[in-house]
């Protein structure tokens, strides 16, 4: 039997990236995927949602074109066309992954991976079982939508991100349970397409994990767009009447209401896929696999990355974890560093953050300075007609160390990469202030906020 250097279970951004790097480093790699390559990110997450968000942005911009003197008549769209375009994007990307895996001579097994012991993995495909031998295993099995326990939910047809991107027709109305990243992004999409959308969020604000000011800005934007946002609300029961989903919601104050809609989307979070590990005695943190700083489980030759270990459930974090594990398999003893992770929300008022949030700094009792610069003063933002937004930088007053940044506005999900570079290279706010930025550009806000931070504001 062939012995692999590493078997990776799961072909998502954690697994396939680890496979590619491992093979580049000369390791003999096997990759097991039960469904489609690319994982949740490509098939049910980042890529379909961003494709739809672009559609929503186009529609919104056409509508706003009137203010700029652009008149477009008879704007319409086809759900089928959108699904088809989305699928073509997904296919292209999947083919890209396939050809990369092939080029690097990675053996890909289509089936369900089941870990038998620290050195053997069984692949189950069409009722056939194949046992593979290996020196190391990476569990990258990802997650699936978490379905909360709500009375009546099991009797109702509802959507998750597994199904929502294949809707054949646009619903007149949609209720989204969950005001996190997935909830707000899809609310933005369906609202732009013309659905009447309601978001139900249990916390006191949407995107509760992000900066409060950013959360408020997005709330206002979505509200202005016509989205009904109910915060501090809990769904107590669900039923279906005449093809409509009826949700009984209860305010924390005890007040009850009924929300009805054509479609229901559950977006309250994700739970790990642990089917591959049921035969081995792994340690867990709740439902998530427990790993050390080197992403090693309690069995030293078994590593785990991505959504299955919890923490940041982000594709780019999973990929970074996959690369870190390969370093460790190669004997390079690399710890996973989570201090500078960009976090992005791709709604049409985008939000992007990096490093520590203001809440983190407050809770740790760190002495910090916050400097805010409004996008209104930025020339490029004015030309785009997207002047809502701001950049906030949290710094140490002694050395100007950048603790974190939060950005709200157009294309900030791209701009935050600049923040990532400053922080990764340990540049301080002084270097940020000196850097020459192109004009006119949104990037100028880095220079502006940095100068403001050191008391030398330019504009």
């Amino acid at each position: 039997m062939t012995t692999f250097d590493v078997i990776i279970i799961g072909g998502g951004p954690g697994g396939y990236v680890a496979a590619l790097r491992g093979a580049s480093e000369g390791l003999r790699v096997a990759l097991i995927e039960a469904e489609q390559l690319g994982g949740t990110c490509l098939n049910q997450g980042c890529i379909p949602s961003k494709t739809y968000l672009k559609n929503a942005e186009i529609l919104e911009e056409i509508e706003q074109g009137k203010q700029r003197g652009i008149l477009v008549k008879d704007v319409d769209f086809s759900m089928e066309g959108m699904v088809s375009y989305k699928n073509s994007v997904l296919n292209n990307l999947r083919m890209g992954i396939q050809s990369l895996l092939k080029a690097r001579k990675i053996e890909v097994f289509n089936g369900l991976g089941l870990i038998k012991n620290s050195q053997e993995v069984e692949v189950i495909s069409n009722n056939e079982k194949t046992t593979l031998s290996t020196k190391n295993i990476i569990i990258a099995t990802g997650s699936r939508p978490l379905i909360p326990k709500v009375d009546g939910l099991e009797n109702v047809q509802y959507h998750t991100t597994d199904t929502i991107f294949d809707l054949k027709t646009l619903p007149k109305s949609m209720t989204i349970v969950g005001g996190g990243v997935i909830g707000v992004e899809l609310a933005d999409v369906f609202s732009s397409l013309g659905s009447k959308v309601t978001i139900i969020e249990y916390s006191n604000r949407i995107i509760a994990m992000e900066d409060e000011e950013a959360s408020k800005a997005l709330h206002k934007k979505l509200h202005d767009k016509g989205i009904n946002i109910l915060t501090n609300h809990l769904v107590t029961s669900v039923s279906e009447e005449n093809g409509c989903k009826m949700l009984v919601v209860e305010k924390k104050s005890g007040e009850k209401d009924v929300i009805s809609s054509e479609e229901l989307l559950i977006a309250v979070g994700r739970t790990p896929n642990n089917s591959a590990t049921k035969h081995i005695d792994l340690a867990y943190n709740g439902a998530f696999i427990k790993v050390n700083d080197y992403l090693q489980t309690n069995i030293s030759s078994i590593y785990a990355v991505g959504d299955v270990i919890g923490g940041y459930q982000l594709a780019h974090v999973a990929s970074a974890e996959g690369l870190t594990v390969i370093e460790n398999i190669l004997g390079n003893q690399k710890k996973m560093d989570y201090s500078i992770v960009p976090r992005c929300i791709y709604t049409n008022l985008q939000i992007a953050s990096i490093g520590q949030s203001e809440n983190d700094l407050k809770s740790k009792g760190v002495d910090y300075t916050v400097t805010k610069y409004n996008l209104f003063g930025n020339g490029k933002a004015q030309t785009l007609g997207k002047k809502d937004g701001f950049v906030k930088v949290f710094t140490d007053s002694k050395y100007g160390e950048i603790y974190g940044m939060c950005m709200v506005g157009p294309y900030v999900t791209e701009l935050i990469g600049q923040g990532s570079a400053y922080m990764s290279l340990e540049g301080t706010v002084y270097e940020m202030a000196e850097m020459i930025q192109p004009h006119p550009s949104l990037s100028e806000i880095f220079m502006e906020v940095a100068n403001l931070s050191i008391g030398k504001g330019v504009h």
Partner: protein
């Protein structure tokens, strides 16, 4: 074109060096990189290499001279180049420097050149501190350490604020870049060291002779597989002989005969009959020495030196006494002339004046054997079936097992024991 050969600066603290010997005669042709002279500092002997091919036109100092660093010690140039040209060299050196620059672009020492090449440093960016702005090795080292890309801006600010020398920091970032974490870790370490220092520790940098000893001892210990043989010598006859010879030798030389002198004589005598130990391993070649030149360790406040008595087996006991006492007196007066330390083939380390019975000495490389001498103690011993009190002494021979086997080493010890227990024979 006449070119200067200068006394190199081999360390931050080096201010002068001794020209131990010239390896090239006036007028002789030298290839680039070939050694011109041996120079010594802090007891290290190193070679000055030719920076380019040419003829040695003139040596400005004799062997044994002490010369300050960066001073010109010789000139090189074309064959039979006139002396006037050489003398005029310094006057017109600025013009000539330009010509040299045309050809070499940057004036640099071979060591600086190698270091720069190894580290991919563009020498034209390195400010030279040598004569005529010649780039020295130290300049390249300084340049490498000052490379700002090796420290993050944040770490740089912290270093400045905390008054830490970033040269002391080890970077853990990409390509060894110093990061905030490295600064914080150094601060923690320094704080704990300072706490200890303030309460009980005194810290002195390892430098000069101590540094050389440290390097040479560890190099010897880790490169040569040491085997140590020990034996006990009945020194009773030596005690009697010394008593008898004391007034005679004192009258002849003005110095008192010590047991060490007797041991030096015995070792030289024994070594002349056991040449298998009078050898050296250098660059994969075994040197068999004809001469027996015994070195003996002398302790100084700042460390340890090993002066040598040449042809020790050829000279009488009185001469050994005279030479050893004069050498030691000169050394203790600070006259560390290189001639005292040259050409040793075997070393004796005597700790007999202390409460030490035996120890395992470390070979004084490039020699291959060393004898450790313990104290002389009166002990009950069995002689002719009776217990008597005799003066006993232990000897330990460490030898380099790469080139000396156990049997010849044991034979040497057996013969040495025989000679010391019957010392009158050596004098015959």
């Amino acid at each position: 074109m006449a070119r200067e050969v200068v006394m190199p600066k081999l360390g931050a603290t080096m201010e002068e060096g001794i020209i131990v010997s010239w390896l090239v005669n006036d007028g002789e042709f030298i290839e680039e990189g070939d050694p011109i002279a041996e120079i010594q500092t802090d007891k290290i002997v190193l070679e000055v290499e030719a920076e380019s091919s040419g003829h040695l036109l003139k040596k400005l100092y004799d062997a044994g001279s002490t010369v300050k660093v960066h001073e010109v010690i010789a000139y090189m140039g074309e064959e039979n180049e006139a002396i006037e040209q050489i003398e005029n060299f310094s006057e017109s050196k600025d013009n000539k420097l330009e010509e040299v620059n045309e050809e070499e672009k940057v004036r640099k020492t071979p060591a600086a050149n190698k270091l720069a090449k190894d580290n991919g440093v563009d020498l034209s960016l390195v400010p030279g501190t040598g004569p005529n702005s010649r780039v020295q090795k130290q300049d390249v080292e300084n340049y490498l350490q000052q490379d700002t890309s090796k420290i993050t801006p944040l770490a740089q600010k912290m270093v400045k604020d905390l008054k830490i020398d970033d040269k002391d920091l080890i970077g853990s970032g990409q390509h060894g870049k110093i990061t905030k974490k490295d600064v914080l870790s150094a601060v923690t370490k320094t704080t704990s060291t300072q706490e200890r220092e303030s309460s009980q520790l005194k810290k002195v940098p390892l430098k000069g002779m101590r540094k050389v000893i440290a390097e040479r001892m560890s190099e010897s210990y880790y490169t040569a597989p040491h085997v140590t043989l020990t034996t006990e010598i009945n020194m009773t006859e030596c005690v009697i002989l010394r008593k008898q010879l004391l007034p005679v030798i004192e009258k002849e030389t003005g110095y008192r005969l010590s047991y060490n002198d007797l041991i030096v004589k015995a070792v030289a005598h024994t070594l002349s009959k056991n040449k298998a130990l009078n050898i050296s391993l250098q660059n994969n070649e075994i040197y068999f020495y004809e001469e027996v030149n015994i070195g003996f360790a002398v302790s100084l406040d700042e460390g340890l030196v090993v002066p040598v008595i040449e042809n020790t087996d050829q000279i009488g006991l009185a001469e050994i006494v005279k030479r050893s006492k004069e050498i030691v007196a000169n050394i203790k007066n600070g006259k560390l002339s290189p001639e005292y330390f040259e050409n040793g083939t075997f070393t004796i380390s005597n700790l007999g004046m202390y409460a030490v019975d035996s120890f395992t000495p470390i070979i004084n490389q490039p020699q291959s054997a060393i004898l450790g001498v313990g104290r002389i103690v009166e002990k009950p011993v069995v002689k002719n079936g009776e217990v008597v009190i005799n003066s006993m002494m232990q000897l330990s021979l460490s030898f380099d097992h790469r080139v000396i086997d156990g049997a010849p080493a044991a034979q040497f010890m057996t013969d040495l024991k025989e000679n010391l227990e019957n010392p009158f024979r050596m004098l015959v």
